[in-house]
Symmetry: C2
């Protein structure tokens, strides 16, 4: 090691582990060094660029607080969060997608057929589906944690005018594995772009928009927890999600329903006379 | 982009640049994404490991202040700082090495033959050499900024007992391109290991020691500024520098000199009767 060179530094790094290093730490750190070294060499990173990167991390540190995690956002806009989701996904089941920073734990129970709109107006959307296993069999008693933006584009945790659990609910599937609720369409929104993640977007000529989506965490005993998002097929940002969250199997359709057809079994039954729209989306969970 | 997959995400990232993105930003960000994506895929990074990485960055943000930059230290222990130094080095001249966090700007002038020991005792070391161009011709009037640890292992900026400019000096080479001063041997020391960089060292089974070294920044009109360190050949940590700073051409020798041989032309001339040691080290600067 007394002669570290551009050509041998990665090898020197990988050779420089003590016997007590656990194999996984060694694997992860060696690979991180290998790929970061390759990056520096590929672009011949200048000292100014290196300092810019370090300043960006310092700035992220200054912005990060319980309400905002700029490091997560940096991971998101670089596609890392989505990639970690994907490499940990199982084939043949519903894709996972980013958790995001706006989930509130311990949401109140929402009965099947319940309504999430609170005091917000707007066209009613009926969302329903079945939670299934990889073979398509329904899973009764699965817990479906649902959250979304209000129509003003804000999650409750961003909006002092909303209650903590506004547009959040925790539903348990029935004997047929079914969940169902009414809500208002979530809207497209921008990720915070006044920090280093925003600077990356500006440097890349990218916008900070995400296509509108419903968030879900679906859990059932014996199955892997699924954290995902479901996106509207007609959203203008579907092909430009700034955090790379969209997967083909996570695209849903809002289908307009004729007036007078709103079904029984919902809190809003008998109260929706006009047109409404409907989303049908099933989840498939991987067994543990 | 509505179907991001493990296989296409890097391509999707690289295709997702606006027309206004400048070519260098595009090159650097695409390459960073490519290599970070390859890292995640190579090790199948788990969500827990991803969260551990983000927590490490958050922690680095909390520790970083004017006196300590944990992000620089993370870059150092991963070998990135050294690699950035090396890819920006020119062949045929003295290698650069890490600046480190302990340099104090605007050190007071130190005359040729001056003494840096202040009130510290210990064996006298005479350091001298010539600043040269790539062809070996001396460069008169080059400014040599020198700093090092005190014998207690601390730089002045770490040690409330030392003056700001203790073991710091700014020397201008004479007509023969020569610099010369007396000092005490700097000592091996540990980088701060109570933060995430320390956790990386622990996970790797590595220690936080750096071999002892003298720091130099050498500047002259018409030449590239050289930031470097010069290491003692007999230091026990020479082959284990925790920040990968050692290069073969930066290794120096302390050569013990017989009593009664201390030369003229030094502040200490006539005051050193016993043995002392001597270091001869020339610098070669690249033309701009």
């Amino acid at each position: 090691m007394r002669n570290v060179t551009v050509d041998n530094i990665t090898e020197v790094f990988s050779a420089y582990f003590g016997d007590e290093a656990d194999p996984r730490s060694k694997e992860v750190l060696s690979s991180l060094a290998k790929h970061m070294h390759a990056f520096v060499k590929d672009v011949n990173l200048t000292h100014d660029e290196w300092r810019t990167g370090l300043k960006a991390l310092e700035w992220a540190g200054q912005l990060t607080c319980p309400e905002r995690n700029e490091f997560v956002l940096l991971s998101d806009v670089m596609g890392l969060s989505s990639l970690v989701d994907m490499v940990n996904s199982k084939p043949g089941v519903t894709s996972s997608s980013v958790l995001g920073p706006f989930h509130v734990s311990n949401a109140p129970p929402l009965e099947i057929g319940g309504d999430m709109r609170a005091d917000f107006g707007g066209e009613v959307v009926l969302v329903e589906g079945i939670v299934r296993d990889a073979q398509g069999e329904p899973i009764p008693g699965a817990v479906v944690d649902i959250w979304q933006t209000a129509p003003n584009g804000l999650y409750s945790s961003q909006d002092p005018k909303q209650d903590t659990y506004s547009f959040h609910g925790l539903m348990t599937t029935d004997k047929q594995g079914r969940y169902a609720f009414t809500t208002i369409r979530p809207v497209s929104y921008v990720v915070p772009d006044d920090g280093p993640a925003g600077e990356i977007l500006k440097a890349a000529g990218r916008h900070p928009w995400r296509p509108s989506h419903l968030h879900f965490i679906v859990e059932a005993p014996g199955y892997q927890s699924l954290t995902t998002e479901v996106f509207a097929a007609d959203d203008p940002y579907l092909d430009q999600d700034t955090v790379f969250g969209v997967r083909e199997d996570l695209v849903m359709h809002y289908v307009t329903q004729a007036a007078g057809t709103f079904p029984e079994g919902f809190v809003l039954s008998g109260k929706v006379d006009g047109e409404y729209s409907r989303v049908d989306f099933d989840f498939k969970l991987a067994a543990i």
